[in-house]
Point group: C2
Chain length 499, copies 2
């Protein structure tokens, strides 16, 4: 029996990852900036220890035996499969390339913060070029070991098994309907008036409202927290999920929707099976499914008219002065118009759900070309401008700050990640439709603040299954069909063009 | 040259310790309690990795060669000596005992928080008994490898080289003068009246005052933070020192003096030499010297009349309503009487500096007996009550909460630690006298809020020296004499009986 040795080994590795997750949260939320250099060294060393665990020479023998063992439970067998996947990926790359990449990415990410503020693409280009050179080398090593194309080998880290060929088909569907749909929605909303709620909205009250809402929709405060960071994220570990937001006294809506988005991620983590918490099979199933949870929470649920019927009294109660001064802004009708406003804009993270996929399509095309070598770093601004003009009728010109330098992903070396945002939007729509078929009364329940039925559906279909199945099988079991853009398109047409 | 390999190896180990320190801080300050079990496992595994690094088979060879190398700088040579010490201690204990101990201690510490509140010694006893059983096993393994008695082997972790035989001599001095001195001080203070400042003292204002004062006396906010925890402590790493306190709206004095105490620890950590931060020689030199820094800050400096001349205007400014309502309480004279009030009490952490050593003597006697097996856990309450009656004329009876369950040390497995508090009090008195000899103007400087001269003395004599010397040599170089109780006694007689 070598299976128990595998579990024991990966429990240790899970503990290192636990430490890395808490250190990462601490760095973003707590740590004074001047302590960053030493923290970066400590975190890099943790990654080295994790990589050493994944390339332990005993693993080959253990895995060879474990795959022959009979009588493993489905979760155990899937755990062997997931371990094999992680080990293969780790063994495929040389440790010195991992270290050189980590260093280059750290340097480039740190410089990016300053250079973006200065709109300095010329200063940024050589740093990004180095990251890409190393990333292409890494992709080549992974590709030859895994029998994948280099870009697929990169995507596989975030969404196991995802291939550009499949992605291209789905994205072609999106490209076919989205630009004209955006045009129609903007035309339709031209006559509408969404009144902007006027503050001040005291931060303590925003925080209290956020905590009340996150718990109302199912966040377990015994196993997580809400804090503040510059960039909102969901971190920590399943037993202790740390979500963050940022507050603006003059606007409560951005922090609140941010909290409801991150709570979707958090509920997935908190809903993973207790017994498998420290094993690879116990992890969430890929970033597309993860984003599916957060977008189900934010887009499918929290921006729906039904949810606003539940939310609005709480908002009025949280900000009595603002609500009294401007009652017309704090109605369900007005806030629904406000939360479903569509606008073409330069910045991905501020984009509404209708225009958001265009931002992803631009990035996807560019990063694939960067990885296959058909585009150089110097050519990015032109490709960006062309993509934005084609899909969103916006020219970014020389505004690199709010153009191709706006995201941390590339300087940090995260190539192959962007597509999961749009796959997540489709997953969310498809899952919510499946939940609606199971519970036709869902909108009425949501309007009454009853989230247990929806959560039970997601827990049964997705959260409790962790990585037992591959992403495609998991979604098919939950919804009866493969991932596709139809439900997403139908959702957009219903919400933005028909009601 | 095998010395560079040693440094490289211990840098990795330092990074693991960095992770463990931040996880420990997080556990006490941030983490929701229900996440404790998984955190305990992760922290135990980190200790196993640290232990594995310390017992790496290559170390024997590297150390053998490094001790022969010529041309090492004094810090490098001392680093080899410190590495050897750590490796010897680590090799002496079995890894599985380290892991079992870490788990038992964290479980027991987590349960203690609840059980102490419930005064539940019966519930606590089996958890503590398990910790002690494992600790005795560990002490026995250490003792046989290091040629020390089991208790000395435990003390050696906190104060390298400290032996019970030497401690007994110093403590006999204390026991000889202290009870009658306490009697005299209480008699003398019987006629005095110290007015208790009346709140409320808003917590935000207390926090702001604490941060202002910690920075005034030399804390660098770019490399550390002040937060809240159940039990105040100084944690984190030298590049990011995390101190904590706890607030009570009706009393600002306890939190403030707590902050000034922990700031003494923090300044030591922040003052350690940058270049040696990740190496064993770069660590603080033992817990007695550490407590010497905190007690120098709190007792020698912050409770002096000179410091109160600096402090009182800031206090009045921080709490204008309270100061206006009760001006007679916010004078230097009254606050000096208040901050030097001596009272026999049950709680160590609330004890004044005169009665404090009695609390240590009680614990020292009990923990030595627990480790040598002459006392069982069930017998602790009786031994505690007897000790408190003998030294402080107080009976704790069935009040375990404020009796033998008041401290986190035993449930957390810290046996051999308590003596360092009283050695620290002596160190503080001895160091402050040496600083006074070098700067006779020190009290006047302190009254003006000038802390640079005192900090320069401590930085030169202690902080910058890290673990270059052993504890005895370090103190002798700084003060011209070995550690002894005379300066402590003189300090108490001057402050409490003569002025």
């Amino acid at each position: 029996m070598s299976y128990p040795a595998l579990e024991q080994h990966f429990r240790r590795l899970g503990h290192l990852q636990h430490a890395a997750a808490i250190l990462g949260w601490d760095e973003a939320v707590i740590m004074p900036a001047a302590a960053g250099a030493k923290r970066a060294e400590a975190m890099a060393t943790l990654q080295v220890f994790i990589h050493e665990q994944l390339t332990d020479p005993r693993l080959g023998d253990w895995l060879a035996k474990a795959t022959q063992e009979t009588g493993l439970t489905p979760f155990q067998a899937a755990n062997v499969r997931e371990i094999q996947r992680l080990v293969r990926r780790a063994q495929a790359v040389s440790p010195e390339l991992v270290e050189r990449s980590a260093n280059a990415q750290l340097r480039s990410e740190q410089a990016w913060r300053r250079l973006r503020a200065d709109n300095d693409f010329a200063g940024f280009a050589p740093l990004l070029a180095e990251v890409i050179t190393l990333k292409r080398e890494l992709a080549a090593q992974l590709a030859s070991a895994l029998g994948l194309t280099p870009y697929d080998a990169l995507m596989d880290e975030y969404e196991p098994g995802l291939k550009a060929a499949a992605l291209d088909r789905v994205f072609a569907d999106v490209r076919a309907f989205l630009p004209s749909l955006i045009e129609q929605v903007i035309e339709r909303q031209r006559g509408e008036q969404a009144i902007v709620p006027r503050g001040p909205f005291p931060i303590a009250a925003q925080r209290a409202l956020g905590e009340q809402m996150m718990q109302a929709i199912g966040f377990d405060p015994n196993h997580g927290r809400l804090d503040v960071s510059h960039h909102p994220f969901c971190g920590g570990v399943p037993s202790d999920v740390r979500i963050t937001t940022r507050y603006d006294e003059s606007d409560f809506t951005s922090a609140l929707m941010g909290v409801l988005h991150e709570t979707g991620h958090a509920k997935y983590e908190q809903g993973l099976p207790q017994d498998w918490m420290m094993q690879p099979v116990g992890s969430a199933r890929g970033m597309a499914m993860h984003e599916g949870q957060s977008l189900c929470s934010e887009m499918q649920v929290s921006r729906s008219r039904a949810f606003l019927e539940f939310l609005v009294p709480h908002v009025a109660h949280a900000f009595p002065a603002a609500a009294a001064a401007q009652p017309e802004a704090f109605t369900v009708d007005n806030l629904y118009r406000f939360f479903t406003r569509v606008e073409r804009s330069k910045i991905r993270v501020d984009a509404d759900e209708v225009t958001y996929p265009c931002h992803i399509l631009v990035r996807y095309g560019i990063e694939r070309a960067l990885i296959d070598g058909s585009l150089t770093v110097a050519q990015i601004p032109e490709a960006w401008d062309a993509g934005m003009r084609e899909l969103l009728a916006i020219s970014t010109g020389d505004d690199h700050r709010d153009g191709c330098m706006q995201d941390v992903h590339w300087p940090a070396g995260a190539f192959g990640y962007f597509p999961t945002y749009t796959l997540g939007a489709m997953t969310a729509a498809q899952l919510f439709q499946a939940a609606l078929r199971a519970h036709p009364d869902l909108p009425a329940q949501i309007a009454r603040g009853e989230f247990a039925p929806l959560n039970a559906f997601l827990r049964g279909a997705i959260w409790s299954q962790a990585s037992l199945y591959d992403g495609e099988a998991l979604l098919r079991r939950a919804t009866g069909e493969a991932l596709n853009a139809r439900h997403f398109e139908a959702h957009l047409r219903t919400r933005y063009l028909s009601s």
